[in-house]
Symmetry: C2
Amino acid sequence: MSWQYRTVHCGEVTTEHVGQEIVLNGWVQKRRDLGGVIFIDFRDRTGIVQIVFNPEHNKPAWEAADKVRSEYVLVVKGSVVKRAPEAVNPKLKTGEVEVHISEIHILNDAKTPPFPIEDDIDVDEQVRLKYRYLDLRRPEMQRSLMLRSKAAKAFRDYLDENGFVEVETPMLTKSTPEGARDYLVPSRVHPGEFYALPQSPQLFKQLLMVSGLERYYQIVRCFRDEDLRADRQPEFTQVDIETSFLSMEEILPMMEKMVAHVFKQTIGVDIPTPFPRLTYAEAMARYGSDKPDVRFGMELTDVSDLVATSDFKVFASVVAGGGQVKAINAKGCGHYSRKEADDLQKFAARYGAKGLAYMGFKDGEVKGPIAKFFKEEEINELKKRLEAEEGDLLLFVADKPKVVADALGALRSKLGAELGLIDHSKFAFLWVVDFPLLEWDEEAKRYVALHHPFTRPKDEDLHLFDTDPGQIRAQAYDMVLNGYELGGGSMRIFKRDVQEKMFKALGFTKEEAHEQFGFLLDAFEYGTPPHGGIALGLDRLIMLLAGRNNLREVIAFPKTASASDLMVNAPDVVAPKQLTELSIATLAKEEEKVEA
Amino acid sequence: MSWQYRTVHCGEVTTEHVGQEIVLNGWVQKRRDLGGVIFIDFRDRTGIVQIVFNPEHNKPAWEAADKVRSEYVLVVKGSVVKRAPEAVNPKLKTGEVEVHISEIHILNDAKTPPFPIEDDIDVDEQVRLKYRYLDLRRPEMQRSLMLRSKAAKAFRDYLDENGFVEVETPMLTKSTPEGARDYLVPSRVHPGEFYALPQSPQLFKQLLMVSGLERYYQIVRCFRDEDLRADRQPEFTQVDIETSFLSMEEILPMMEKMVAHVFKQTIGVDIPTPFPRLTYAEAMARYGSDKPDVRFGMELTDVSDLVATSDFKVFASVVAGGGQVKAINAKGCGHYSRKEADDLQKFAARYGAKGLAYMGFKDGEVKGPIAKFFKEEEINELKKRLEAEEGDLLLFVADKPKVVADALGALRSKLGAELGLIDHSKFAFLWVVDFPLLEWDEEAKRYVALHHPFTRPKDEDLHLFDTDPGQIRAQAYDMVLNGYELGGGSMRIFKRDVQEKMFKALGFTKEEAHEQFGFLLDAFEYGTPPHGGIALGLDRLIMLLAGRNNLREVIAFPKTASASDLMVNAPDVVAPKQLTELSIATLAKEEEKVEA
């Protein structure tokens, strides 16, 4: 095979190369015959340049070029020529030049791909995933992958400059008590025993702090076996960070600067710091979410006091029963039909709301079934509180605080998007802080950790372990961007007695705590420094950086919603011998067990 | 808690700080009382500085310091003072100063650790692994971790500057036909089906080349479930690289420069390039190894022709039967006793040698049982070929070439080390090239791939697929350092017909090839560029960089030889419910199944 490595990339041929002989490697994007001359849009990962085969200049090259089709792989040699003014293609970076080819070698041929290798294609995602190697050839996917690589590099550069040490932690580790979501790995050497793939390297990074490493980071794969939603993957990547001796007031600014560095290095956007902070209570009260999108207003407004005394008994009785009534103002939606209002109600119902009351202001009147129950002063006060005016629509939910927050928060997000209230050029970062340490699980009838069992309570709330654990606030912080939780962190417990209280509050017996986390409790007795850290979801961050709306657009080889890899066909049945060697058997029904 | 973050690291306090008030965070290495004054060696990850508590200067601080013990975690504030000349400690970087403490907070206390937190401890490795969080506190382990982090950064910087894109490939993927060493992961969503953890991202990186990414890299965790040897771990890290359009003559220098960059950036050593190259045949002939340690000579010398006609029938008959006779010269070992020679013979037997003949030159005589069978001219010729002189010992193995190479190669390594022939300050890199593509597996009665089934044959050997596959040479290359294989790479097959021939040579039916690798064969039909790459074992490279002799010394949380994590106790039994949810059952014997 006689061919040469490129002297320049396709997308980088400019008028500066005019007159030079160059070599290009790449793929045929498109071939056109015009008056016996062959024009090829020639592509590599940097872009496209036009190459030209003229039978009058070079017959053998033209004859060879006559055989090529889309996606053939070529090496070509030729000289760069300035195009005539009328032939300039302003859409191409290389549009002022073309390359007149004197030599061509076909490195490989190609069948017609199942979809065009270009952006904005309308193809079923299943097909794209099956032929992922072709899908990734499309420029927008190449840009995603390169952006991701650049972002990871920017994280590493920043962390390295700030004294962080990258440490690799084990992938084959131990199942935790919340192991329902663990992926298990049977051991051949230890029959009947299993490793678990890590949901996060939480314990290892804390133990590295016990080791005195002081600043750790890792860009690390984690695993969670859960029912997949649009924005979850069974394996995901997090930027995992832990520090010793720093307080939250030192960690948060450091993380802000890190993220600002990444945005600057990748997409050139300046992110202002410090990020605003909201307490969990405030975020829930104002936005009905602990990860609010603050790019727009439409905040939740409490009107419980106002409606408690109204003639609308539904509201009054909810307030009397300890519930609350809140409203949002859908600006300019006063004209909504009953059907439209009903659709909103159905939407709210999905978040647990038993009803969605509304009040529209249209043609100088107050519309909606509940209007008649309110006196004029009450309506005026409602309008004042919600800054409502002619043409607006107020939406009310009356329920337990959690349901009010969930339903109105979801409605706010939906309407914010639908009404075009969101400035998509904006990156609205914030911290949510002062989370509750524990959450009551109705089903399990016990407290569960809102973050994880290693989160440090606020010092001033420590005494509540014995009296009212639900009221303990955590030294925890979530980084939120445009309505997405980018990551969560906390200061960690670093004293054995506090950790034991925490396990007790979570319903562990002493024996269970020791069985599962004895090594951590032991470690705390050998001189553990105060420490804390954070884990940022890299996939989601890249998705937002790239302006995409699906994690699969920024993962090279993602899984589907049913956790399958459609290209390699995984998971799959395996040889019975493999299972025997691992001392396991499958309990799948016979028809499922048949080797495919 | 009132304490402050450090203003300077312990190991970095110098005479420049004299007169300044500083804050330090760290651990108590050692406490001494001298005439009522307390001296503490205070440690953080950068080193040690002496801090002093004098009751006459500050009584409360002294009283607090009186309570601290080794490994307590402190924050201290004080002023830096130049030590009196007689008190200077030349062994410490900070030995010219000490810090007179005015304020101290005990952040955490500590029990006495199970072993001292210092270098060169004589402790059972099992104890070190159980208390890994304390073991990693020792300076030599901290240095290992930091070196590793620095090396990974150096790899990334080099690859980034050379246009490589870091892409993350899946960890939950598909089992391969050589799946005996695969770790399997049962799927909850697909009962009876399993993912496999990757032994390497080989197929994915090739598919990224099909995608036109052109230059890929990843520092990636890989998994292999095999019986562990001293230098293997069930999970290991490789620097994984793939390129398109480049030939081997372009890839090899690029990889040499990369490794040289890493050595320069981490330990400041200049590695000369280009690396020498040896063909596989030459390496086996001269060193009896495809990963020779070329820091010393003692090469294998073929004497088959010479001994074929000798009176020593054992040698003559081996040669007559198609075998060979080779020897090495153990310089200065002519005085070895029969017992010592027998021990060498036992050693050689482990590598399959049925015997080890020897001939010593001592006191002007030729010693050893075989001496009498050789004429003087024959002995002189042997001495000449092996450059033997008075005092030397020749060791002979007569057998099939593979046994000769294995036994004499191992003897050479052993004697090289024992006789002190190895310059341990040297880094002797080389490439081994021209490997056979296939190796005959006596047990399976079929060919197996010496590297892997995707390795490209030499163009000029392609025709041998139909006649003599065993003679095909591969476009493969191994990077070797000081007798270790650092990594292996190759140019890859990129045409469907060649790949199909390869699968056929490996004994796959068409159906099996399609079932397992259909997506790859398909991919080759859509415009696959010529490509090739390499994978370097990061753990081993760091081990050699750090001058250690065990992979566990450069892995934060390694597994034991039986693939266990002694700290977290993994693998372990899991709740029966977890297995049911995964549709599997364990076949382990009852006594093994009991929950620990």
